[in-house]
Structures are given as structure tokens and as C-alpha cells.
């Protein structure tokens, strides 16, 4: 009798365990696919498989090359501080201390003579390099490059400071760091993601952008009729003084815009912020047609205006007015900032 009970007990347990296991198997087989988290492909930067070629010598790396007067110069800088200076020679000289080697490669030569019209400044010497896949970018503590005054410079960089002086035209994209441009004669296209941009005594078409940083420009003029001035920062102030372009487009997300100068006849000027004030300091005899939109801010002018029309269809107020003869068009827009016009 006892033996029969034991057998019955074992059978019961076996049956229950088997059924339980089967049920869990079925349930998990049904639910697992939907429980698996979605695999998100994380796109990592495709890093260039390059080897930096260090300068093993006791003295800084320095090389020069004869070029055309209007040479295009391309370079990338991985680290360091960069200084480019224009001089009166038809020659490019590169100097790197505490970092990579330096060298040149000629991309294109001129048709009339053999002087290069487009070169690359490299972080290694192509004629002597034995490294596989060498890094083309310059790197070092200090990088100085002398170029002809009429040179056009194209830079991609990650430098903590950049100073470019007395060249014809600059196109630069910098990761982070402050940039200073002085005496650039034919225009600047500058973009930094973190850092200030300062331009002075320059001319030509200007396009200045900073994601996080201030933009300062003064004594800027057009090189040709129709040259425009654009400045945009997401998080920073924009300060402009004596900008001579007749078309100015300035925008800031979270930062104020400060303009001190004159609006020229026939000019078109636009200033806009999301969350920042717009402060204009202009002559008392300015000739403007003003169209201002301010959502949650205010408008104030020290200079008398005529033909003032206010329209308040909603919280976004619009104001149209005129100063003087109304020869220039001024458009002001802010979502949450104030607009102030002061007399110089």
C-alpha cells in the first residue's frame, strides 16, 4: 500500500512539472520575440585610419614652397593653435613645433607657368615619408603658415585658437576654439561649433556661424556691390559695429544682437532672435522702413518714427513705421526679447 502511494505521488509530481515546463516553454516562445529590444544601429564616425608622422628632430618642422600669387591652400589641423599670416612673397612657409612633420603636395599648377595654384599643406613630407597611410592633418603646439596676401585658404581644424591675418579669402570649419580674422580682403566663410568668432577690418562676403559662441565684427565692408553679411549663432551674442554691407542677415537663438552703425540707402537688414534682445544704435537721421514683430517682448525707439501702424492680431505684435525717407528696409523679429532703437 505504501509503495503504491509513493509511485502515485511521484507520478503526480512528474506530470505537474512536465505540464508546467511545457506551459512556460510555449508562453516564452510566443513572447520572446516581442520582448527583444529593438537594436539601434549606432553610427560611429568613420575614423580615418591614419598614422600621425611625428617630427623626431630637435628643431621644429619647417618647409616652404614657391606658389602662385593667388594660390589656393588647403589644410587640416588636428590640434594646436594655428596662425596664418599673409606676406608679400610668392611662397608658402609652414612651421610646426612640438608635433607632426610638415610637407606640401601640389594639387594643380598654373597653365602659364609652373607655379602651383593649389597646394595642400600636409602633416608629413611626401618625398621622404615611409609611413603607411600617414595622417594628412597638421598637429602640434604651434602651427604657423605664411602665405601670399592674395591666397585663398581652406581649413578644417580642431584647434583651440586660430588667427588669420592679411589673406584674400578664408573658408574655415573648426570644431571648437576661438577664431580671429583680420584684414581679410575678399570674404570669410567661418563656422565653429564652440567658440567665438571675431572679424575686423575685413571686406567681402561674410558668413559667420557659431553654434555656441559670440560673434563680433567691426569695420567690415563689402568688396563688391552685393556682398552680404550673415552672422548666426545659436547660443551667444552678436555684436556688430560699422558693417558696410547693404544686405545684413543676423540671427541668434539665445543671445542678444547689438548693432552699432548706419543703415545705407537701398539696404536690406534683418535681425532676429528667439530669446534675446535686439539693440540698435543708429544715427538720428537714419532713413528706414521698419517692420518689427515681437511676440512676448516689447518695442522701444528713441528716434521718432512716422506712419506708425501697430497690428495686434494675437500675442505676436507687428509694427510698421518709417524713419526719414525710408530708404533702407529694416526687419526686426524676436519671440521673447525686446527691441530697442537708440540714437548714436
Amino acid at each position: 500500500m505504501n509503495r503504491n502511494n509513493t509511485i502515485s505521488l511521484k507520478f503526480s509530481f512528474s506530470a505537474i512539472l512536465l505540464l508546467t515546463f511545457a506551459s512556460f516553454s510555449i508562453v516564452f516562445s510566443q513572447t520572446l520575440p516581442s520582448k527583444v529590444p529593438l537594436k539601434i544601429e549606432t553610427s560611429k564616425p568613420v575614423w580615418k585610419n591614419a598614422n600621425r608622422v611625428s617630427n623626431e628632430g630637435d628643431t621644429p618642422a619647417e618647409k616652404s614652397i614657391a606658389v602662385s600669387e593667388n594660390v589656393n591652400i588647403s589644410l587640416c589641423v588636428a590640434e594646436g593653435s594655428l596662425k596664418i599670416n599673409g606676406w608679400d612673397r610668392r611662397e608658402v612657409r609652414a612651421y610646426v613645433s612640438g608635433g607632426s612633420q610638415v610637407g606640401f603636395t601640389i594639387v594643380e599648377k598654373g597653365k602659364e607657368n609652373t607655379a602651383p595654384i593649389w597646394i595642400k599643406v600636409l602633416g608629413f613630407d611626401p618625398s621622404a615619408n615611409k609611413e603607411n597611410n600617414p595622417d594628412e592633418c597638421l598637429a602640434g603646439d604651434t602651427i604657423e603658415i605664411d602665405v601670399p596676401r592674395n591666397a585663398v585658404v581652406n581649413i578644417k581644424s580642431k584647434v583651440n585658437e586660430m588667427i588669420i591675418d592679411s589673406v584674400a579669402k578664408v573658408t574655415v570649419e573648426n570644431d571648437s576654439g576661438d577664431m580671429f580674422f583680420n584684414r581679410i580682403s575678399r570674404g570669410i566663410e567661418a563656422r565653429t561649433y564652440e567658440g567665438n568668432v571675431t572679424v575686423e577690418q575685413s571686406s567681402g562676403t561674410m558668413s559667420l556661424q557659431s553654434t555656441t559662441g559670440n560673434i563680433i565684427a567691426f569695420d567690415v565692408s563689402p568688396g563688391d556691390i552685393g556682398d552680404i553679411f550673415k552672422a548666426k549663432t545659436s547660443n551667444g551674442a552678436i555684436t556688430l559695429k560699422n558693417i558696410g554691407q547693404r544686405q545684413i542677415d543676423v540671427a541668434s537663438n539665445t543671445g542678444s544682437i547689438n548693432f552699432n552703425g548706419s543703415f545705407l540707402n537701398g539696404g536690406q537688414y534683418s535681425f532676429g532672435t528667439s530669446n534675446g534682445s535686439i539693440n540698435l544704435s543708429i544715427p538720428l537721421n537714419s532713413s528706414l522702413k521698419i517692420l518689427a514683430s515681437y511676440g512676448f517682448g516689447a518695442f522701444n525707439s528713441e528716434i521718432p518714427m512716422q506712419n506708425v501702424e501697430r497690428n495686434v492680431p494675437s500675442r505676436v505684435q507687428t509694427l510698421s513705421a518709417q524713419m526719414g525717407g525710408g530708404d533702407a528696409a529694416l526687419k526686426l523679429s524676436t519671440v521673447s526679447g525686446a527691441i530697442r532703437i537708440k540714437k548714436q
Binding site: I16, I26, K48, S157, A251, G272, G295, R315
Partner: protein, 308 residues
């Protein structure tokens, strides 16, 4: 026989040991001196012996008493046994086994049926469900009233947030398919939480970092902005951690919040007055600012890649 002889009943009681002690002593002393009582006692003993021998099987009180004690002891042991011992004992019963098997089979059937039903749901529903899990439920932080959106005519039952007079004039109401209601100002301002519907058009924006939707016909070209922003946001969400340093990340998030706030404010104004060109222009500019900001992250990532 002596006069003080005891009755046969007393003698029988004496024999059965049912008398009191003093009476038993008196009876015993008397029987020792009285032959008649002694004879009666002998006869009673004989009769008792005959009766017990004849009824031995029925009157054997020892065996049932032991069985009773065994049962009592078993019962006590059962009460004192462990939970698992009782469970085992319960499950060992054939009826329990049958009942358990039946329940398990029923559970299996119910689980399989439920899962198959879930698999048969429409992809959009499943997608929306996943989006809901990712997005979370936004909360309007300030005390605001939201009135039913009069511009959405053909939407499923959802909770919709629409501006009425200003940012303090909102109310959350549920609307059903194809029904519209006139706006009315709501005076009370209870704190409300509301769920955000998932539209296929993905036309979303954020107010106070909480996602909102707006009618597609409020601003021409808005869908393009929103789709671009949604696409860029996905890309940036993947890249921003490895592209932006903490300080830059902080600035980015701050800028994004400001832009979202501007978008939200202008969205409200455009909804309130769809012919407000200034508000539309500001809304477009805000969208473009957001696109530019998101683009800056991807462009920076590309720059870093080119510089290794």
C-alpha cells in the same frame, strides 16, 4: 441469609466496581461473613463471565480505543505537519491532480489565444504603441485649460490640446471620430495631464519639452519641417553623446529648449489665428532654427570624422 444481606444489584455493582469506597468495604466485609451473599456474588461473577465471553468481539473495548487514539494521533500529526507536506499530500490525491492538470491546460490555452490576438493587431497600432512607450506621456506643467480642437474633424478618439485664448486657456477633452465642437473659454484652471495622440503624419513639436501636435493645415509646409526635424532628431539622438562634450551638450539642450519654447508659443498663436502671418513667419523661423541646431550636431560629427 442474614437480614442485612445486600441486594443482587448491589452485589453486581460491587462486582463491576461501581460502588463507593466505603460501601465497597462494607460489602466486602459482609460477603466474607455471609455465605448467601458470597454465593450470590459467585453466581453474578459466573453470569458476567458468561456474558463477557459471549460478547467478547463486540465488547472488546481495548482495540477500538487504540484505533481511536491512532486516529487522534494521526490527526494531530497532520495538523502539525509542514505546508509542503500538506501540499504534497493534497496533490497526491487523484482529484487534485486532475484539477491541476485542467487548470494548467486552461492557462496554456488562454495564453496562446491572447498572444495570437496581440500578433494580429494592426502594424500602426503596434507602432504607435512602441512610440508611446518611447515618447512617454507629456505633462503640461502650468495650470492651463485646453479646449477641444475644432480643426481636427477626422481623427480617432484622442485627447487633443488646443489653444483657445492664450496659454492659460486650455482644456483637455476627448473627442470622437468626426465630431467638432466650438471653442469656449474655460475659467477654471485645474492641473491636468494628457496623453498625446500619435498621428501618422508625425507632425509634432514640443512645448516645455513636451511633445504636442497641431493641425496640418495651420501652416503650409509644416509637415516638411516636422518630418525633417523628426529625422534629424533621430540622428542627433544617436550622435550627440559621442559628438558633444558635456558643456556643449548642456548648451545644445538649452538651445533646444528655447527653440521648442518658441515653437510652442508660435504654434499657439498660429492656431489661434491662422491668418497671422507674423506668427507664421516666426514659427517657420523657429523650425528652421531647430533644423540648423540639429544639423550642427551632425555636421560637427562629420568634421570630427574627417579629422579622425
Amino acid at each position: 441469609m442474614r437480614d442485612n444481606c445486600f441486594e443482587i444489584g448491589t452485589i453486581q455493582a460491587f462486582l463491576d466496581g461501581e460502588l463507593a469506597a466505603d460501601v465497597t468495604e462494607n460489602v466486602a466485609r459482609h460477603i466474607a461473613d455471609c455465605d448467601a451473599c458470597a454465593l450470590s456474588l459467585a453466581e453474578a461473577e459466573d453470569e458476567t463471565a458468561i456474558a463477557f465471553s459471549a460478547l467478547e468481539n463486540e465488547l472488546n473495548m481495548l482495540v477500538p480505543t487504540q484505533r481511536l487514539w491512532l486516529k487522534i494521533n494521526d490527526s494531530i500529526e497532520q495538523r502539525q505537519s509542514s505546508f509542503w507536506q500538506r501540499v504534497i499530500a493534497f496533490l497526491s490525491a487523484p482529484t487534485s491532480l486532475a484539477l491541476a492538470s485542467l487548470l494548467i491546460m486552461f492557462g496554456l490555452f488562454a495564453a496562446v489565444t491572447t498572444l495570437r490576438h496581440a500578433e494580429n493587431l494592426s502594424p500602426s497600432v503596434a507602432q504607435n504603441d512602441s512610440i508611446n512607450r518611447n515618447v512617454g506621456l507629456p505633462v503640461i506643467e502650468p495650470s492651463i485649460n485646453i479646449e477641444q480642437n475644432p480643426l481636427i474633424d477626422e481623427l480617432p478618439a484622442i485627447e487633443t490640446a488646443v489653444a483657445v485664448e492664450n496659454k492659460n486657456d486650455y482644456k483637455v477633452t476627448k473627442t470622437s471620430l468626426g465630431k467638432t465642437k466650438k471653442l469656449k473659454k474655460v475659467t477654471e484652471q485645474p492641473k491636468l495631464k494628457f496623453a498625446i495622440p500619435n498621428f501618422e503624419t508625425n507632425n509634432e513639436l514640443k512645448v516645455n519639452n513636451k511633445e504636442l501636435r497641431m493641425p496640418t493645415n495651420a501652416l503650409s509646409g509644416e509637415d516638411s519641417y516636422l518630418k525633417t526635424i523628426a529625422s534629424l532628431t533621430k540622428t542627433v539622438d544617436i550622435k550627440k553623446d559621442e559628438t558633444l562634450k558635456p558643456s556643449a551638450r548642456f548648451a545644445f539642450e538649452k538651445d533646444l529648449a528655447v527653440i521648442n519654447d518658441a515653437i510652442g508659443k508660435m504654434q499657439v498663436e498660429v492656431r489661434k489665428n491662422p491668418k497671422d502671418e507674423s506668427a507664421k513667419e516666426m514659427l517657420r523661423t523657429s523650425y528652421q532654427n531647430k533644423i540648423d541646431l540639429l544639423n550642427s550636431v551632425t555636421e560637427k560629427s562629420e568634421l570630427m570624422a574627417s579629422l579622425k
